[in-house]
């Protein structure tokens, strides 16, 4: 593909998250949105009208044929991700899939295998690992500031009376409620890949479970612990908390707090001073952290660099670069599979007693990715 022309992007599924995609795509000079598509003409029309996109359609095949996109972003309900991704890949287009990637690891393996076969790329929407706060924290970890990573704690506050939560909670037929992992399947990939991004072992042991909050007919709370030989992690999804996305990374020499919503990164070094002096060192460090975060965010604000979906923009750019210039994929196919597989194991672990439609697999029985996929 020529490197001096814009990447032609089409978007399939014009619901809520599509707005975030289209807003970030407008910020990317090297890309142009050539079409949007949705089964509901009103949804496709409103997206095209608001974002001044030259073409909208309700038929995928026709849109692909006439708009000729390089990449198609799939932002439809998760139940449709695998069949649509497979269809689009086979038609010769690269695919960006919103999280959750697929319904399960079996579907993930199928999509990634098709991508390898037709020599096209797939990227999943694990955008928070490209968020400026996370990128900063990773660079500090790489510099060795906290030593070796030993534990990662990831929290997602998701009130069921929030903007999206209330839509899901009030409607038993909402597509999120019909996912094998229910509410969690649509949301926990973010806090989960923030753990797996720093966890060396592919498939840790899982401890914990989910439960229903009083008055609710579906599981609303999730609390999990992940254990490996020398690392651990914990994931908390709570509808009792206001919306928040926080990860704390503990190392052998200190820890780092990453608050995605306030865009702050705080480094705590283990205190070295003895006794009562340590009680002064810690707040002094916190004061330094606060000053650093304040000046950093003031600078970013002045440069108009504070955007909720900043990580999404970077991820798009890296994906398009991989397509155009052959640079490494921002989220390797193997990582995509790993997170999907781990989510399957989580949901199977949480409902061992339930009889569901989905086939429960023993840990060793999950499909393996072909060796060529990496």
């Amino acid at each position: 593909m020529s490197t001096n022309r814009k990447t032609r992007v089409a978007l399939l599924g014009c619901g809520q998250i599509a707005d975030a995609h289209l807003t970030q795509l407008k910020r990317i000079r090297s890309a142009e949105v050539v079409a949007v598509c949705d089964v509901h003409e009103d949804l496709a029309w409103q997206a095209a009208t608001r974002f001044q996109i030259p073409r909208w359609d309700v038929h995928l095949e026709r849109m692909l044929k006439e708009a000729q996109p390089d990449v198609v972003h799939i932002t439809t309900p998760a139940q449709t991700h695998a069949p649509l991704a497979t269809q689009i890949l086979k038609a010769g287009h690269h695919v960006y899939v919103e999280k959750p990637f697929t319904l399960d690891a079996i579907e993930a393996e199928e999509v990634l295998t098709v991508a390898e076969k037709v020599n096209r790329f797939v990227c999943v929407g694990h955008d928070q690992i490209f968020d400026p706060a996370w990128v900063r924290a990773k660079s500090w970890i790489k510099q060795g500031l906290i030593g070796d990573v030993r534990h990662i704690e990831s929290i997602l506050g998701y009130p069921v009376d929030g903007k999206f939560g209330s839509l899901v909670a009030s409607n038993p037929n909402h597509w999120v409620r019909r996912l094998p992992g229910g509410l969690f399947q649509n949301t926990i990939s973010h806090p989960l890949y923030r753990i797996t991004d720093l966890m060396h072992e592919e498939q840790p042991k899982i401890v914990g479970g989910w439960h229903c909050r009083e008055g609710w007919s579906f599981p609303t709370e999730l609390s999990l612990s992940f254990q490996t030989g020398n690392q651990s992690g914990s994931l908390t999804f709570s509808t009792f908390l206001p919306p928040q996305r926080i990860t704390r990374v503990y190392g052998t020499r200190g820890c780092i707090d990453i608050d995605f919503d306030s865009q702050t990164v705080r480094f705590h070094k283990l205190t070295r001073l003895p006794g009562a002096f340590a009680k002064l060192e810690a707040p002094w460090q916190q004061f330094g952290n606060a000053l650093w975060n304040l000046s950093n965010n003031v600078r970013r604000f002045a440069m108009a660099d504070i955007h909720y979906f900043a990580g999404m923009k970077t991820l798009f750019e890296r994906f398009y670069e991989a397509i155009q210039n052959g640079t490494p994929l921002p989220v390797p196919h193997a990582e995509t599979y790993r997170v999907t597989h781990l989510m399957d194991r989580i949901f199977d672990h949480c409902r061992p007693q339930e009889v569901g439609d989905r086939q429960h697999l023993a840990d060793g029985a999950y499909p393996r990715l072909s060796r060529s996929i990496s």
Binding site: D19, T23, D42, L43, R50
Partner: protein, 334 residues
């Protein structure tokens, strides 16, 4: 013989009052509710006799099979349901798409009247002169995508309803209420100013507010379904003696409510909106474009609202005066 009406949105702020007004007219009501917990609110203010006229239909407006079963049995459809919050796509998903389904089912069932509750916000005020009259002949906003999500979805909803009338001869009547107020809702709406945390940024203050008391509005909607020979008509619903923002704030303060506000004089609204819009564009949305010159003109332009057509053709009278309505409302706010 008594008429039967199918009502969507009957559990809402307006809907509950509307259902009561409808049964007071002896109409049998089949009220669609998504959540059965909402039926308590509908029945709360009804007498035992009135309750017997209300039948709860659990389901969703987008459920076409349910509509195809229900609508052949009814005379009038009153469509009040609409999303009040969320992104544009959410508004379209919950307002426009179900309306399409309902319009098709109603046309197929050959209902005798379809009353769509739209919004006074659908008008484009760009071509109106300062303090010009806004009435039913004022054109709908030609650039709805430049307005807020709610207005955009209501304009599209109306447009598909008119298409249905043209295509299938649907006996459509559109009601466009102004800002509906009453006990349980704040008087300080976006027409008065913007709420930023605890602070109200008052925009102008001398412009008329197109308020209508919830009870008055409910009566007008009832009449839009029962008045003969008004198919294809549109009715603006606002009360008499409309207040301005300055009067509302003064009234609230007089009644002991603390209103922390800063004032933006009317001549400054345009330039400040332009400045904000420029910054929003320059920063690529670091601050979202909630205020633009276009939106400001649509909301805070000084125009005069009239209700002559509704009074004449629907024989409607806003029974609750502005003074009484404001007193009722503020007593629940304090």
């Amino acid at each position: 013989m008594s008429k039967t009406a199918f009502v969507t949105g009957g559990a809402g702020f307006l809907g509950r009052r509307f259902v009561r007004k409808l049964v007071e007219q002896g109409v049998t009501v089949r009220c669609l509710v998504r959540n059965l917990r909402d039926q308590d609110g509908i029945f709360a203010s009804l007498s035992d006799k009135q309750r017997r006229l209300v039948h709860i239909v659990p389901g969703d407006v987008a459920d076409r099979a349910l509509l195809d079963t229900e609508l052949p049995e009814v005379d009038i459809v009153y469509h009040l349901a609409a999303a009040l919050g969320g992104s544009t796509s959410t508004m379209f998903l919950n307002t426009v798409i179900p309306t399409r389904s309902l319009l098709e089912a109603a046309a197929l069932a050959e209902v005798k009247r379809f009353v769509l509750v739209s919004s006074l916000g659908v008008y484009g005020t760009g071509k109106l002169s300062y303090r010009g009259v806004l009435d039913e002949s004022t054109p709908v906003d030609p650039c709805p995508e430049l307005r807020d999500a709610y207005t955009f979805s209501k304009i599209r909803q109306e447009s598909i309803a008119w298409e249905a009338r043209e295509k299938w001869g649907l006996p459509l009547v559109v009601v466009r209420p102004g800002v509906i107020y009453g006990p349980g809702r704040s008087l300080l709406t976006s027409r008065v100013g913007l709420s930023i945390g605890p602070l109200l940024v008052r925009m102008g203050g001398g412009q008329q507010l197109p308020y209508t008391h919830v009870e008055n509005c409910a009566e007008a909607i009832v009449m839009a379904g029962l008045t003969p020979n008004i198919e294809g008509e549109t009715f603006n619903i606002v009360d008499d003696h409309l207040p301005c923002g300055k009067q509302i704030v003064k009234f609230l303060k007089h009644r002991g409510k603390r209103v922390r506000s800063v004032w933006v004089p009317r001549p400054m609204i345009g330039p400040l909106s332009a400045l904000y819009e420029w910054y929003s564009n320059w920063s690529e949305g670091q601050l979202p474009s909630v205020i633009t010159r276009y939106k400001s003109r649509a909301i805070w332009k000084s125009v005069r609202y009239i209700n002559t057509k509704a009074k004449q053709k629907l024989n409607w009278v806003p029974r609750i005066s502005m003074e009484e309505g404001l007193n009722q409302t503020v007593s629940t706010e304090l």
